[in-house]
């Protein structure tokens, strides 16, 4: 016999499944994930493999698409298609890890702030104000000049500047939920604050956090792209979709060699769009008024 599960999340799942755009978004995201995961198998060449013009000691720069190089080669004679696949790994890893960081920090601060209120809340919310006011770009440029640039700096930097949204969202949700009767009931049955926060409040506000995670992932991808495009993000020779777009800063490339920048730009756009669709789908699925 088929057991119909009836938790809040089972209902949400059924609603999500009926949303076509959300399903398309999910499918697309999964395809991109597979691309990233199996890059070494799918890619015809290594990400930093240089190609030379036949018989000469010259890089085969900006070769137009051919059977050999499906999407041509870039400014250093590397295969664009292979770099695109390996770039997916880097881009998605940066996005996911930074979202994990921002979600953990944001959720923790939001929970503590909302639950304990008063002084704790005032202090944390001022910290949020300060972080929001940080000029991210200058911060990153100065960090990358002081420190050896690495992918981890990009991850932590994006995570560190984007937890504020989650913190505010979670704080608001906690303020709403903690006034509900079942929280009073938990208090009345002698549950400790920690138990109330993690067993009663957090599971009940997971839905908006999940929506925020998807939207945050999309924004992290964009942020990585723009940072790398400006040269303060992921550094060469590591490929990322953002730094592949750097070549487009040259007018000649932008005008005459679209195969160099259209593919990374296109996949960035597609992936961000797909993730937004998933986020919208989740939001609608979690909305009890639907």
């Amino acid at each position: 016999m088929l057991v119909k599960k009836n938790s809040f999340y089972d209902y949400a799942y059924r609603r999500f499944r009926r949303n076509k755009l959300a399903i398309i978004g999910t499918a697309l995201t999964i395809i991109f994930l597979f691309m990233a995961l199996f890059a070494p198998i799918l890619a015809p060449y290594g990400p930093s493999e240089f190609f030379f013009v036949e018989g000469q000691n010259v890089y085969n720069k900006y070769a137009s698409p051919s059977i050999e190089h499906l999407l041509g080669t870039d400014s250093l004679g590397r295969d664009v298609f292979s770099r695109l696949l390996y770039g997916a790994r880097v881009t998605m890893m940066v996005a996911l890890l930074s979202v994990i960081i921002s979600t953990v920090i944001g959720t923790f601060i939001g929970l503590v702030s909302g639950y304990y209120g008063k002084f704790v809340d005032a202090v944390f919310m001022r910290i949020v104000d300060i972080v929001i006011s940080f000029p991210v770009l200058f911060l990153l440029i100065s960090i990358s000049t002081i420190m050896e640039p690495s992918i981890w700096i990009v991850i932590f930097a994006i995570g560190f500047v984007s937890w504020t949204k989650t913190a505010r969202l979670v704080r608001g949700e906690v303020l709403r939920v903690k006034e509900l009767d079942y929280i009073s009931a938990a208090n009345a049955s002698g549950s400790s604050s920690l138990k109330i926060i993690f067993k009663h409040i957090l599971p009940n506000i997971l839905a908006p956090i999940m929506v925020q995670v998807t939207i945050g992932t999309a924004q992290a991808i964009l942020m990585e792209a723009s940072l790398s495009f400006l040269g303060v993000g992921v550094q060469q020779p590591t490929p990322s979709w953002g730094n592949m777009l750097m070549d487009a800063q040259k007018l000649l490339v932008l005008r005459d060699m679209p195969w160099v920048w259209i593919p990374p730009g296109m996949v960035t756009l597609l992936l961000v769009l797909a993730i937004y669709f998933v986020g919208d789908g989740l939001r609608d699925a979690f909305d009890p008024k639907q």
């Binding site: 009836n6 079942y182 009940n204």
Partner: protein
């Protein structure tokens, strides 16, 4: 007879934009083993604040400013918070809320919520807790408890949810259970069932009940003793029979007169003139004097103390000498 709950001179103060006000003042009463004490009063009389103060659930802008609360002989206001959570709340005293629709955690299964109440206070393995939870569900009259165990609150009706709440409250076998208008949100037939259930469980579980309500019919039905509250003070308390037979305080008399009965001829329900004054604008002297038909000049000047009249304690100048004086 053993006293399970004793409240002495309990005062609760709330800070508001307009200043700081006492929601309840020097409230004292006690509940004996296996007895039901009802607190009655209009909205804003302080009856809910009293029960919330006992459960340590006063909102952030309020605080207990004085008094003692003894549960099973221990003053919980002098205990460290951790100890109150661990050995009093949910164990010796539990509470049933007014709204069964919102008092259960929507994303936890019924069974898990009841088991949690058990495991919070007793060390036992899960299968044992499960057995007790199922047994309690059966006792509160939930059909096919095995199946309900795995369901979520939204799959149950209001009456069923209130039964689950009662099961959660009883599962630790508390000395006393506070029921804050537990039937207000239910329809009348379900209300009767729940009240019968409470009566029945009171003797099975040997627990006392502190029943907060504004419904005098329920009081007459289930209470042993009654407290009548007005503006944060107890104006009259005593055994239910005495209070219904011969109410002393003019407010109690007024309340009882408003009870509709089948023999009533009048087309219009009797009412007490005026309304409960706002907490920020309480009158001088006796808080009830502006609405009182028997008010005397001194009622506006000084606050009356409590006097014992027969079995009842009354806060009214009419009974200053221990009996009604018509001066």
């Amino acid at each position: 007879m053993k006293t399970v709950l004793e409240v002495k001179d309990l005062s609760v103060r709330f800070k508001t934009e307009e200043g700081s006000f006492h929601a309840i003042e020097k409230v004292s009463f006690d509940v004996q083993e296996q007895k039901t004490l009802a607190i009655v009063g209009e909205s804003g009389s302080g009856k809910s604040v009293t029960s919330l103060a006992i459960m340590q659930l006063i909102a952030e802008n309020g605080s207990i400013t004085g008094g003692e609360i003894f549960i099973d002989g221990e003053d919980i206001l002098k205990m460290p918070r951790k100890q109150v959570q661990h050995s009093i709340l949910g164990k010796k005293i539990s509470m049933i809320f007014q709204e069964p629709m919102t008092a259960l955690n929507p994303i936890l299964k019924i069974g898990d919520q009841i088991m949690e109440s058990i495991l919070e206070h007793q060390k036992m393995d899960k299968s044992e807790a499960r057995r007790i939870a199922l047994q309690t569900l059966k006792q509160v009259g939930i059909p096919s408890p095995e199946q309900r165990f795995k369901q979520y609150p939204h799959e149950l009706s209001g009456g069923m949810r209130q039964r689950v709440m009662i099961a959660m409250g009883l599962v630790t076998k508390p000395k006393i259970m506070i029921a804050d208008e537990p039937t207000t949100a239910l329809d009348v037939t379900i209300e009767a069932q729940i009240l019968n259930l409470l009566e029945e469980l009171k003797s099975t579980y040997r627990t006392s009940i502190l029943f907060v309500t504004h419904d005098l019919n329920i009081v007459a039905d289930i209470a042993d003793d009654v407290i009548v509250m007005y503006c944060g003070q107890i104006v009259e308390k005593g055994p239910v029979v005495d209070i219904f037979e011969s109410p002393k305080h003019p407010y109690t008399k007024g309340l009882l007169a408003t009870m509709p009965s089948l023999e009533m001829d009048e087309k219009i329900l009797p009412t007490i003139p005026g309304s409960v004054p706002n907490i920020t604008r309480r009158p001088s002297g006796c808080y009830f004097h502006p609405r009182c038909a028997s008010a005397m000049p001194k009622c506006a000047e000084q606050a009356p103390g409590e006097t014992l009249v027969g079995n009842q304690r009354v806060r009214c100048f009419l009974y200053e000498d221990g009996e009604e004086n018509n001066g």
